[in-house]
């Protein structure tokens, strides 16, 4: 019943002009696997829909050993699971994407959509934050880069301003090993009850740098700095690992909902963080 204007720009400038013209009141559609559900359920009633799938500037996928990875917003989850580049340099992104949805959905769903939808349980956010990824946001008048860790502001909310879109993600060259573990009742086609990404960089038998990032336990993906600090400079004995896992569980205060009770989410944080660290050793 709701009719809306539909645009299919062919260039980034064209897309940004339409966004500016509409003063931000246009819904960007990429794969549509999040947006269309919300339209159907009358959660959003867009006056205009901007299909960005033809915009070539959003399709970057390149690697440079100094600058790292540039991966465009339109990269599909299927691309992430298949790209030799991703699989060689950032295998955690390929495996995280492989845990999402189903083959059919992965062929449509995009990286940009997963991040901009800003669901607390979005599976790509924790591993990307653990990799110190940076988001490139563009509007007609400006282009800015901000750490992905600062991108999310609440469930369904991000720092994206009116007229702005996510162009690509930049991931620094891989340092150490990264793991992402997802806990969900079903093997596939399920949402994370808890997601945990861990990156550990070791030198001389000691942990030099650590990242612990949790999904689905807070309004936004949660970086557990106290847990990271408890690891850095330490030899990663099982005692040290257990301690970091415990700190991680204590530092989050998840909610109880139909998917899980809060106590269970906390327990899973502890288990996943411990197993995640172990997986990087």
């Amino acid at each position: 019943m709701n009719s809306f204007d539909h645009f299919t720009p062919a260039t980034l400038t064209e897309a940004l002009s339409i966004l500016a013209e509409r003063n931000g009141n246009a819904s960007i559609i990429a794969g549509g696997t999040d947006l269309l559900l919300r339209v159907k359920n009358h959660i959003v009633k867009p006056a205009a829909v901007l299909n960005v799938k033809r915009v070539p500037e959003l399709r970057a996928l390149s690697f440079d050993s100094n600058e790292g990875l540039r991966v465009g917003a339109l990269t599909t989850l299927r691309d992430l699971t298949r790209s030799p580049l991703i699989r060689d340099c950032y295998p955690v992104l390929a495996s995280a994407a492989g845990l999402m949805a189903s083959e059919q959905i992965r062929s449509l769903a995009t990286l940009g959509g997963n991040l901009c939808n800003a669901s607390p349980s979005a599976d790509l956010a924790p591993p990307l934050i653990a990799l110190d990824a940076v988001a490139c946001l563009v509007s007609l008048s400006s282009e800015r880069q901000i750490p992905l860790a600062e991108f999310f502001t609440g469930p369904g909310r991000s720092v994206l301003q009116k007229g702005e879109l996510l162009k690509e993600i930049i991931v620094p060259p891989p340092q150490g090993k990264t793991a992402y573990l997802k806990h969900s009742p079903r093997a596939f086609m399920d949402i994370a009850i808890v997601g945990a990404a861990v990156r550990i960089q070791q030198q001389g038998g000691k942990c030099q740098q650590a990242r612990i990032v949790l999904g689905a336990v807070a309004p936004t993906p949660l970086r557990v700095r106290s847990g990271e600090e408890s690891l850095e400079g330490q030899t990663l004995t099982s005692e040290v690992i257990r301690q970091a896992a415990k700190i991680s569980a204590e530092s989050c205060s998840p909610i109880s909902d139909v998917r899980s009770a809060a106590w269970y989410r906390k327990r899973m944080v502890e288990v996943l963080v411990r197993r995640g660290i172990e997986a990087t050793l």
Binding site: M1, R87, G98, H183, P185, R186, F188, M189, D190, V271
Partner: protein, 792 residues
């Protein structure tokens, strides 16, 4: 009979058209000038409608009319005669209070939001206990009590059973709401013609009872109602009752004078469709030191929701498992079916049996443990046996329970030895590769890791459970019959018209095999018609795993009748006696006289084409030699045969997360004789998929009468990626009453699954799960509890 079609792996006749997307389902039906109806449900679980203003909705462009309780005919309908199309007192959040007809469904939907309703709130009752408490508000005042029905069964002497017991175990169980989740949501198209006759395109399982129900609901003669059944995209018991949306569609059509379609959204299906009754159950059971069972005592409280359905009869089946699965000398079973302001409940595959088998077989395991006996041997020594009668009055003819248990015990041995079957055992329906992620191939079968590579937090276990299920119909209506006719035309083509209903279970194919075998023709020469009450003879409906047995017998009788007519003419033409003839390969041949034969089509033509000629039209009516249970004692032989089965589940439990992975499910079923082994396997595998979901993931979470997870994300079905290796074994016992020895199998596949898994979990980690589904959270809580107890 040389060309043995019986026992062949015949692909389902309806499969190619379904695979090609050409089958006409209910959602595909479009009639000229068809309108669309949508239903407004109550905002409150218990409230009186004191004012309704429909004027804004009526003014919306495209809206044809709005219906309210004022449009109700004066009659009540439904199993408990407690329902009306539109309610002026809402008793649950799924109560229909108004409806809109419009030129498209979106307009109708928008119009719903323009209807203004003022409610006067009434106190809510969301728990059966509260509903039964002194002075509780009556949900249906005319019923005088919120207790709709109490089942009270017993045989033997419980006190004696207790006193003879060396071990006694007791447990409390909590069973959830689950939904059928048919791929096709509820849908109906209704049309009144100029004679005021109603035609309903429907996905019902009970076309002839629905005719009667609708005539009651609408106050028109049953002879004015015609039901046309479309292809059914899943039923599983959902279609066993009349639901308000059906008379509502009819009222909408009558008011507008045009055909009206009412189709549920997925969310509506979860909210307004029926669910399996949740129940609270307390069970005690005992055994002698030598392992002989002494007694069982089960009492259940079922929340049936705001309106009664045929689902309220499920305690009959729970009673049967309690009293008659294994030999139980003393037994008692009680069940209270209680009205509440919760969602409506209905019949669902297994009809009480998945519930009762879960609690009975869990206690069987506890008894075996208390006696320090092998769980399989303990079951075998108490197993039902052929040609026996249970104290409840079930007359057991063929019985392969022991063989089923032995078969799954063999699978348990390979599980213990860490041996796994070849992946694609067979190409038809063999396990598929689902996806490739990171070089790992993920198949529909879970791939178990070798024992020695298993991390210490993963524990393996195996568990067993059996099942007893009606396999020769179930008399819950005064007739359990089915009619059939078989016509042979002048091309030698055969048309079977059967009263029974195809709901995807493959009955068309099995019935075609029976008729083709009897007439000696190829399966390609058979057409099965089964979808129009104006054409087909009566049948009580598709439920209780009854179609192959009952409709199979009826089809067989009709085919024999047709064959007699064929032989009569052929004997004259060939100048031999009728008893010398046999039918095969489309020919009637004279036995012992090679070369002397006549084709079926020739016989047909010679019989038809003359003055005083006759058609070849056989008829059959089969109503099994069974009884309605006695209304006071609940005893009686409800079915002409009983099916048996056993399952073995092999599981892995992650003791840190509580997550249970089923690695293997071995299923052995006594089906009498497999008319079509491929279809039998399909029924068992499909049943297992539902049983796995019931055991581990499926639950409608209901709070204050409201479903909190009405979608396929948070209502978790088992997907192909979660499916374990399923080993199906068919045990054949050739039942004397079944067509070609067959018994029913439609429901057994999922019945023992939850119990087998619960017992396997116990074997793995030593906790007894007594609440379904056994989610990771519940398993972990049980493990915590066990640890706490160990510390004290």
């Amino acid at each position: 009979m040389t060309d043995a079609l019986i026992g062949q792996r015949v692909p389902k006749l309806d499969a190619p058209s379904k695979a090609a997307g050409k089958t006409i389902y209910g959602h595909d039906v479009r009639l000229p000038s068809m309108l669309h109806g949508r239903i407004l449900y109550s905002r409150y679980a218990h409230a009186k409608i004191i004012r309704m203003d429909t004027s804004r909705a009526e003014k919306l462009r495209g809206v044809k009319c709005v219906l309210t309780p004022k449009d109700n005919p004066p009659h009540r309908f439904g199993y408990g005669k407690d329902n009306k199309p539109f309610k002026d007192i809402a008793r649950s959040l799924r109560d229909e209070i108004a409806g809109v007809v419009a030129t498209d469904a979106d307009i109708a939907e928008e119009a719903l939001s323009l209807i203004e309703v003022d409610y006067e709130l009434l106190p809510n009752i969301f728990s059966p206990r509260e509903a039964l408490s002194e002075g509780a508000l009556l949900i249906h005042p005319e019923h005088k009590s919120n207790l709709f029905q109490r089942y009270n069964y017993s045989h033997g002497d419980l006190a004696q059973g207790e006193s003879e017991s060396a071990v006694v175990v007791e447990e409390k169980f909590l069973l959830p709401y689950v939904s059928h989740v048919c791929m096709e949501t509820s849908v109906v198209v209704a049309q009144f013609d100029h004679r005021d006759h109603l035609t309903l395109w429907s996905t019902t399982q009970i076309p002839f009872l629905l005719q009667r129900d609708l005539s009651e609901a609408l106050g028109i003669p049953g002879s004015n109602v015609r039901i046309i059944q479309t292809a059914v995209g899943g039923a599983f018991g959902r279609g066993l009752d009349i639901y308000p949306y059906e008379p509502i569609a009819a009222l909408m059509s009558r008011k507008t004078g045009q055909p009206v379609r009412v189709a549920f959204s997925r969310e509506e299906e979860f909210l307004a469709g029926p669910a399996r009754q949740p129940a609270e159950v307390t069970v005690r059971a005992g055994a002698k030191a030598d392992g002989t069972l002494t007694f069982r005592d089960a009492s259940c409280m079922l929340d049936i929701g705001a309106y009664v359905s045929w689902g309220t009869v499920t305690p009959l089946v729970m009673m049967e498992t309690t009293a008659s699965l294994y030999q139980v000398p003393h037994a008692r079973f009680t069940a209270d079916c209680v009205y509440t302001n919760n969602l409506i409940t209905g019949a669902m595959r297994g009809y009480g049996n998945p519930q009762s088998t879960f609690f009975i077989e869990t206690l069987m395991d506890r008894l075996a443990e208390a006696l320090k006996m092998d769980p399989v041997n303990f079951r075998i020594m108490n197993a039902n046996v052929p040609n026996s009668e249970t104290p409840q009055g079930l007359v057991i003819t063929s019985c392969g329970l022991k063989e089923c248990l032995e078969a799954v015990a063999a699978s348990a041995d390979s599980a213990r030895m860490n041996v796994y079957p070849e992946r694609s055992r067979r190409n038809e329906g063999g396990r598929l590769v689902l996806s490739e992620v990171e070089g790992m191939t993920v198949t529909a079968n879970i791939k178990p890791s070798p024992f020695n590579l298993q991390p210490p937090h993963i524990k393996r276990g195996i568990g067993f459970a059996s099942t007893l299920n009606v396999g020769g119909g179930a008399r819950i209506y005064r007739s359990d019959g089915c009619g059939a006719t078989v016509k042979v035309d002048d091309f030698g083509h055969v048309t079977l018209v059967t009263g029974s209903t195809e709901i995807g279970q493959g009955s068309e194919t099995a019935l075609a095999q029976i008729v083709a075998q009897t007439l000696g023709v190829k399966i390609e020469n058979i057409t099965v018609l089964n979808s129009d009450t104006d054409i087909k003879p009566w049948d009580v409906g598709v439920h209780a795993s009854r179609t192959t047995f009952i409709a199979g017998n009826a089809a067989y009788l009709a085919a024999v009748d047709a064959r007699n007519q064929i032989f009569e003419t052929a004997a004259q033409l060939l100048g031999v006696g009728v008893d010398q003839l046999s039918a095969s390969a489309g020919q009637v041949t004279v036995r012992d006289e090679a070369g002397k034969s006549i084709s079926l089509e020739q016989v047909a033509r010679r019989r038809h084409f003359k003055e005083g000629g006759k058609v070849i039209l056989g008829e059959g009516w089969y109503d099994p030699p069974t009884q309605l249970v006695d209304k006071d004692t609940y005893k009686g032989n409800i079915s002409a045969a009983y099916g048996f089965g056993a399952q073995m589940a092999e599981v892995e439990v992650d003791i840190e997360t509580g997550k249970v992975r089923v690695l293997r499910l071995a299923c052995a079923n006594d089906v009498g004789h497999a008319i079509n082994p491929m279809a039998v396997e399909g029924q068992i595998e499909g049943g297992a998929q539902m049983g796995l979901g019931y055991a581990l993931t499926e639950e409608l979470i209901v709070k204050d009468g409201k479903v909190l997870n009405p979608d396929l994300l948070d209502y978790r079905l088992f997907t192909s990626a979660d499916m374990p290796i399923i080993e199906t074994r068919i045990i054949e016992t050739d039942d004397p009453g079944g067509p070609f020895g067959a018994k029913g199998v439609g429901e057994m596949g999922g019945t023992p699954t939850a119990a087998a898994i619960a017992n396997a979990i116990y074997d793995a980690v030593g906790v007894r799960m007594t609440q379904l589904p056994m989610t990771p959270e519940r398993v972990l809580a049980a493990l915590d509890e066990k640890e706490k107890r160990a510390r004290v």
